[in-house]
């Protein structure tokens, strides 16, 4: 199964595609709203075409970059990579895990994302209105600016797709270093399709409660994947040190005695290796939950520390959203910990809460949310 479907790749594609489609949907919705039936149909069509053109050209460039990376990897890089396989996998795994972690939080606040983009677009369009009237002698830079403004509906989706796409390519390259090439296509296609589907659902403004649930579940999986990547990354680095010590012998040993450093071993079973080509079910286990048939102190501790940080991070974010301040900063009274909140029932509020996130909500300026959004680093 991991030979035909790389789970982390699926999630990355899903995530990046979802983000792209949200932005695109915001754009389309915006056009629909601001250039309603009362406006010029030709202009609306033109702008809509710009949006689609932007998406397509972004996608095209992405594919070119992707092809370039693959080509260079399989021609020049392969040997260099194999010489230090464990280090590459370890470093990329940890990096990918950290990035997925940071991205993941934003996925839970899709509505904020929508708001943010709406704000952005509005600003761009407002600027155009300002400068569009007085058209005299213009400097080169101003020309550029005006061009950008004129084709904002092209540039925005183009840049977005390009950025998300390159991000995805890089992540997949990182996550997929150790995976067989056959495991990519299906995962990529499914990820893109699922992302586009969810994006479409958001655009249509369907059932937001179940959408939110869906996002939570998929984010949970994303974090499971990231935790596993983090742990595996640490394991890879440790294994690299061991292979350097034990040489060929460690490689020859397969999954049996001698294939791992007994001094750091927490558990080891001589089977069920995620790298094994025969017992393939364990590869999914590894992708989803970070399963290792050989666990070290490093990999177990890093797995748990990862979750500890994630838990604390979300508690802090949650606290910030609810209380409007960071925990431990200018505490008003006795309750100093975000953890104190978890008794509160969310289920009742979530229905009404979702309503806030619905498209078309105009009030974009929220101090509280701004900080959270910056996590995305946009």
């Amino acid at each position: 199964m991991p030979n035909v479907f790389a789970v982390p790749v699926f999630f990355i594609c899903f995530r990046e595609c979802l983000e792209t489609s949200i932005i695109v949907s915001v754009l389309l919705a915006f056009l629909k709203q601001t250039l309603g039936p009362e406006h010029d149909v030709a202009i609306r069509k033109k702008l809509t075409r710009q949006v689609y053109l932007g998406i397509l050209s972004g996608l095209l460039i992405c594919l070119l970059i992707c092809a370039g990376i693959i080509a260079s990897f399989y021609t020049a890089g392969k040997n260099a990579f194999e010489a230090a396989e464990h280090i590459w996998e370890g470093v990329f795994g940890i990096l990918a895990s950290l990035i997925i972690t940071v991205m993941g939080a934003a996925l839970l606040r899709v509505s904020k994302l929508q708001d943010k983009w709406r704000l952005k677009i509005t600003k761009v369009l407002e600027k155009r209105d300002d400068g569009g009237v007085a058209g005299e002698k213009l400097g080169w830079s101003v020309k550029c600016k005006r061009w950008a403004e004129k084709y904002a509906m092209f540039i925005l989706p183009f840049v977005t797709v390009l950025r998300e796409g390159i991000e995805a390519v890089l992540f997949i390259a990182g996550v997929g270093l150790g995976l067989p090439a056959t495991s990519f296509p299906l995962a990529v296609i499914c990820g893109l399709a699922a992302g586009a589907l969810v994006g479409y659902l958001i655009y249509k403004g369907g059932n937001h409660a179940s959408l939110q649930l869906f996002l939570v579940v998929s984010t949970c999986f994303l974090y499971l994947v990231a935790a596993g990547l983090f742990s595996k990354g640490v394991w890879n680095l440790e294994q690299d040190a061991y292979v350097r010590l034990a040489g060929e012998g460690a490689v020859e040993a397969g999954t049996g005695p001698g294939s791992y450093d007994i001094r750091n071993s927490v558990w080891h079973v001589n089977c069920c290796s995620p790298d094994s080509t025969t017992a393939s079910g364990w590869g999914i286990f590894n992708s989803l939950f970070g399963w290792q048939n050989s666990a070290t102190y490093g990999s177990v501790i890093s797995y748990n520390v990862y979750w500890l940080v994630v838990i604390l991070g979300f508690l802090v974010l949650g606290f910030k959203e609810r209380e409007g301040r960071w925990p431990l900063l200018k505490g008003k009274s006795g309750d100093d910990r975000a953890g104190g909140d978890d008794g509160r029932s969310n289920s009742e509020e979530s229905e009404s809460g979702m309503a806030h996130g619905v498209m078309g909500k105009e009030d974009g300026e929220r101090q509280g949310g701004a900080k959270v959004r910056e996590v995305r680093g946009m």
Partner: protein, 584 residues
Amino acid sequence: MAISLSNFLLPISLFLSAVGAATVTYDFDVSWVHANPDGLQTRPVMGINGKWPIPPIVATKGDRIIVNVKNSLGNESTSLHFHGLYQNGTTHMDGPVMVTQCPIPVGSSFTYNFTVDQPGTYWYHSHNKGQYPDGLRGPLIIHDPDSPHKDLYDEEIVLTFSDWYHGLMSDLLAGFVSIANPSGAEPVPESSLVNETRDLPISIEPGKTYLFRMINMGAFAAQYVWFEGHTMRIVEVDGIYTEPTDAEMIYMTAAQRYSVLITAKNSTDANFAFVGSMDQDLFDVVPDGLNPNVTGWLVYDSTKDNPAPKEIEAFEPFDDFDLVPQDKEELYEHVDQTVELNMKMDNLNDGANYAFFNDVTYVRPKVPTLYTVLSTGSNATNPVIYGSNTNQILLKANEVVEIVLNNDDPGKHPFHLHGHAFQVVSRSEEEAGAYDVSAAADLPSTPMRRDTVLVRPNGNIVLRFKADNPGIWLFHCHIEWHVASGLIATMIESPLDIQRQLAGNIPTDHWDNCRAANVPTEGNAAGNTVDLLDLTGEFKSPGELPVGFEARGIVALVFSCVAAFLGMGVIGWYGMAPVKAKTG
């Protein structure tokens, strides 16, 4: 460099045969010297009396040999073992440390004193800390005025073959039994030697017949040996005379010996190369630039060129199983005790690779096994007292013992038994698996006997001998690396007879060495003299590798699962929470 023994021995042996048994005395002061035998690297070697190569021990059947050993190494204890000698009645002179004696510590002396009633080609070497490949190994030749072959040759020449390392064994062993070597890959020799040198010319006179006594004194590598243009006629293996048998090429494992007759050509037109070629199948990785061959020449005319050896197409050595002993000793039909030894290699929980007989890897006892026999009275027949890691096998007086050795390892192993030559009654081809009595072919009626025999990869051998020599005799692989990784069994043969022979008769210098080396000399393998069944404190091997999950693994897994679920719970809590439109 060829040691032409007859030149100086013939007069001696004539003299000896005239007066009967003599005493041959050697004073050996063992110390480090430097040597560069392969011309590649000068290294410290263990020399004797300030010289290396060390001298051969030469005696005649019936002689008493006395070797006074002084350890002047300065940094290592030592001992000497006389490989192939039965040591009948003198098991305490056999030499393996912590088996029949204590180590000879730095600065101490030890006297080996025994008689030899067996003619043939033997060798002597340290049997301590795997140190003989550092150079402490030499030929031991017992002449026989009554040899059935004595009229067949004019002169005899000793040829020793061996692999050669540039590193010290103490360092190499530390790296071998180590977590850094989980596959148990043996260090590969840097080169090989013949008579402790390379490119050895041997002067040959046309028309003469020579007895070449060939010894593989190597640590590891077996050698293919052939003489270009000459056929070997095997007349002795490991001290056992054989029916003369022609061979073009022989395969000589570590510790094996072959005496072959070679008749010189009648012309001096050309010189001929002979080659010892290390069996590279044994090597885990053959390093670039390794020359597996060592060459010498039969020099008929020293003014002519010594030609480079010709390439051969394939190694097709003579199968020693087909040899027939000259005395035609018949197969021991009736077996009293069968000892099945299943050998394998595996890792223990220190990460290093070990060798096992029946899942037990040898670890030396606290008290030399012989001294346990001598200090435990009637309990000496209880195998328990010899410890849990010595692979002890008790043999009763005069019973016929059969060793069935199943090699569950893809390597070739030369097995050696101290104190006996055994009948090789069956030897399988490669990959034959364990020995199956019902499927076994007919056993030879007069099986070949020797003291070191090759077992093929994943194959088996069946050996038989009569327990007519009370003593403590090791049975072990003669690859020195595997001695270090524990491929040793201890035969405890007629312990009560040993007591009768030796109780009170162990020379005081043996005890003095134990005192100097701080080794206990009484009690069971753990040195316990009160309760002989109490092995508390004995030396043991590292534990087995955990199979699957131990407590810590389960705790770690549970913790990880809890962390993951808790984490997902918090994500759910955060994700399902309403997004506040505005802050208060």
